[in-house]
Symmetry: C2
Subunit: 306 residues, 2 copies
């Protein structure tokens, strides 16, 4: 097992200007698992209700995802209902039913505890901390969070952030967590908490990675027809950590490539609802889009005379 992910498994009902789906497979741990499955073997830890369709589990297993950490509890699976308007950067939540996810107590099966990579998707920071202590010898740990925890459990959140290697977080949340409107200053402040890298997700504006080695900037792929941004951030995380776990070496070069790969996988994820696009995605398409990111960003480095 190369990466363990702990997070939500959901049935999402989503409407965008381009269509809608009802109770489709979703959740941070699911998007992450499928995204990372292009690169390495993933172990998924989460909880579903007794209404969770078995075919979804079969599907995850067909991608090589280890579901031994997937608990099935009496009750209903976590559900999210949301809408996006033409500004796909902004999700409008219509309803959130936590259901069995409300009592989620992640338990890492023995066979997953030795995984070298860990992704703590956006859940209660106290649970993230508990999971962290169950992993015996991680090479690299990464954590995502959201405004709900920044506001509700700031101390618990800072505590767990201080223990991980990489914080993945969106643009507005970096500023909120650091209480600093300037992005560069905010990221520096968060680096001082402990992580060696802050990866800032900026939706259609791309992603940035901050570390002692400097700042790296990757654009988002300019899509003509993004359909549903749900899961884009977790698909980014899956592409990023999957690529990194595959390469094995945690150099700045590999981390930069992994950021680009995160952007590549996220760009596919938003091309259709739910996991639909990722499940059809072929390695040759990933390779082709990675090449397009090179074309998108390259310029002649020799300095023009002035």
């Amino acid at each position: 097992m190369d990466i363990v992910v702990v997070g939500s498994i959901a049935l999402d009902s989503v409407e965008t200007p381009f269509g809608k789906v009802k109770e489709a497979l979703g959740g941070s741990a699911v998007y992450f698992s499928v995204a990372a499955s292009f690169f390495v073997l993933v172990g998924l830890v989460g909880v579903v209700g007794d209404d969770f369709p078995k075919e979804h589990i079969v599907l995850l297993e067909s991608r090589g995802v280890d579901t031994s950490g997937l608990a099935r509890k009496p009750g209903k699976t976590f559900r999210w209902v949301g809408r996006y308007d033409y500004d796909l950067n902004k999700a409008h939540t219509i309803s959130t039913e936590l259901n069995v996810f409300a009592e989620f107590e992640p338990e890492i099966p023995d066979r997953l505890r030795k995984a070298p990579f860990l992704f703590l998707a956006n859940i209660d920071p106290e649970l993230q901390d508990k999971v962290l202590s169950q992993i015996t010898s991680p090479r690299l740990t990464a954590l995502d969070t959201m405004n709900f925890w920044i506001e509700g459990k700031p101390n618990e959140l800072e505590k767990v952030i201080s223990k991980v290697d990489i914080l993945l977080i969106n643009d507005a949340e970096v500023r909120q967590l650091a209480d600093e409107p300037n992005l560069v200053k905010a990221a520096k402040k968060l680096l001082s908490l402990g992580p060696s890298r802050i990866v800032v997700k900026r939706g259609e504006y791309g992603a940035m990675m901050f570390s002692q080695e400097g700042i790296f900037f990757a654009p988002a792929y300019p899509l003509e027809r993004p359909v549903d941004p749900t899961g884009a951030g977790d698909s980014f995380a899956g592409g990023f950590l999957g690529c990194l776990a595959k390469s094995g070496e945690l150099s700045e070069d590999n981390l930069r490539q992994a950021v680009v790969m995160g952007s590549v996988i996220a760009s596919f994820a938003v091309e259709d609802f739910s996991l639909n696009r990722l499940l059809k995605l072929k390695p040759a398409e990933i390779k082709e889009r990675f090449r397009e990111f090179i074309k998108l960003t390259r310029f002649e480095g020799s300095f023009p005379s002035i």
Copy 2:
């Protein structure tokens, strides 16, 4: 004369969270001229009132700017009063006094009519069209505009856009002008009007260039202390066209370098109020920041195994 610019000359009163200035030198043609003056000789066409301080003209001339097209009319100079909050992407206009600028009838002096490069800063599209017809044999023409003209004179604007080589425009305005929420589709629609390139300015999110040769993406320089974004777009245009005019050759490679140079110069412009930072800027600093843009965007192009 390498580039002629036609646009506003203003006295700006600006307040941001980092300080304020009163009736400081500003205006699109001024920012553009100073930015481009690092690369080539600029001829400025505009109008000021009889209250316009002579020292500002002396200053422009000291940068090699030809002010023979600068008309002085009875009355007051154009004034803009604005405020920015911590979100420096958004200007709040407190007042606009057009004064002598309301009757602006740009007249290009003979000595400037043979200029190979022309920048039509954001003014009435009918005036932009008149200026265009006064330039005898331009190698490259570029135009900026704003929501005011998109709403007020859409037909006149489309007409002049169809005659220029490059449209420089901000993110929201591309979508508004094309009546299309998707940026890629919107840019394609505007390319079909005639220009060979659309350069989209996205403030702190960077700039993108669209053409038949593909899409190019340049980040904005991540600043820890942007002070005043006034004039950033025109400084970008000045760096972009100045660099391009200097290189002489209008290849995709040179255009991409010029977009980066536009971002470089704009990043300095916002470090202080008015023209203060640009007037102190040294070529070695430009070179150093250009190198930082390389570091900011480079990643290993060999595809990681999957």
